[in-house]
Amino acid sequence: MVLLLVIVLEVILFNSLGRRFLSGGNISNVFRHSVEIGLLALAMTPVILTGGIDLSVGSMMGLSAVLFGMMVNSFGVDPWLAGLAAIGFGALGGGLNALLITRLNLPPLIVTLGTFSLFRGLAEALTKGAESYSAFPKSFLALGNSDVAGLPAQIWVFLMVAAGIWLLVHRTTFGRSFRAIGYSAEGACYAGIPVARNTSLAYIIAGAVAGLAAVILVARLGEARANAGIGYELLAVTAVVLGGVSIFGGSGTVSGTLLGWVSLAMLNNGLTRISDYRIMDQTVASVARELSGLLTGLLLLAALAIGAWTKNLATRRARGQSHPENPPRSSPP
């Protein structure tokens, strides 16, 4: 509810400050340029629901993009087939995370921090730190740059993934188990939920969707590089947390994530469109564009603080006492 209000406010604000914010062209532009982050946010939602986190998705995008570019440019593989393979590689990477996290009981944070470095490093090593791939057929690039039925082509892919994740989280027993695991992994185990298997699924999906996001990014930019998706993991986590998914796991909705993503995408686009005002010799636009990263960080902190604060209030009210206990830990037992 609050987020809807934020989005409406953003639209009003940016529409009055900037030029052509609400034009159809710009709106489809907003979504075209943030589909990849939206996909990562969707994929991150089940992972965070289980009480975990996946910091490696941005690096996985880089690795998938490089593998994809290699397959198409150096080995002449059909781009659509290579796209499927890139998704497969993503799933494999997610599987590595899942293996380490669920079978060996290692904390998701450190495992994915390690693969964050490993995947990006492999991407850099494969391209010798500098090479990029850019010979792609026009029919493939259309995925990133053309419109289908009035919407950017990649939006249709995004909507399908969104529908899939929504069904998974809200209409299947898997989805229920994600929340049960995030609420209490031990409790879920006693309730007969295959905790390791279902948690693995969340990480594998995250990896596969990161691979898909890489393919879409390459189609939009027309170039596959090792630096694809740097910093996207933060934006994805921000969108998820803004959308009201508890970072400790156990509660949250896919529609919340989508709203968080829309408000974030509009913020970034809107800031770059404010151009008629000047502060200290610089147009506001150039300042605003550079501020968007900083604002994202601050927005995330604010969303978290408000979340923790309301949770504290709620528990205090429920217990009827004035001294709140320490919040639960983020890492699983």
Partner: protein, 309 residues
Amino acid sequence: MSRFSRELTVAGALGLLLLILAVFAPNFYHLQPFISRLTSQMPALVAAVGIALVIISRQIDISIGAQLSMCAIIASVAAGSGLPLGAVILTSMGAGVLMGALNGVLVAWVGLPSIVVTLATMVAWQETLRLWQQGRMLALPEGIQWFGLSQAAGQTAVISVSLTIVIAAAWAMKNLALGRFIYAVGSDAEAARLAGIDPRRTTFGVFVLMGVLAGLAAVLNLVQSPQVQPNCGDGLELKAIAAAVVGGVAINGGRGTLWGVLLGLLLLANVNPALTHFHLPPYWEKAIQGLVILLAVLADGLGRRKRPR
């Protein structure tokens, strides 16, 4: 016996690596480049001491690279405005205290998970630097490089300050109340609370200490060259975390020694020079760093599995 097994393993691996280098690449040990390499690792060592304390208290801080960059730039601006060396050092550490305190307040008192807090502050500092410096390098005034001493004396000073920090921190973790509190809070915050320790104050203190050490590491980094880059701390967080984890600091908190961290850092620091001596291209560096982190947590996880719960 199993108490120091990790430290012994890492020491063995380090010894083996150094031995291999001694046999196959003896010019690795030419005194001047050897000392220079060692000196260039000292800021990371100081940061690794800080991150070890953070991890032992069962938190994480991935903003330390950005903190170090911030401190370095603030310190060099202070130096540029003509402050004496002592004041520059204090400025850098002061900036570190403020940034550490922000993390500490958000983690300890607001109760947010440290990973997200420090992810957000990392981006906030990086973006602040980008906005402020636009990637410019800052030239330092005379008398800052090598603390205004000769290069050899400066290198000795950097190395001895860093080793003093390690020794002091190792002693404090064993003998001071705060050190014992950090272990206690890291192994079980609730039990620590029942034992009369305030976990929130301890956690806050650890983040502030991390900031101080990041500020000091920034100074140790600053004095090694005539100018500062606004991204000089990039990647430091991974390096420091890797050193701590490889050195046997348990990622679930409560366990680990600073001697292990020292050995872990020296091992990691020598992997890359060893690779170049054996003609492996340098762009494998990040992948190998990630692999080493994974192997270390893997060893940690398997070790934990064998022990009865």
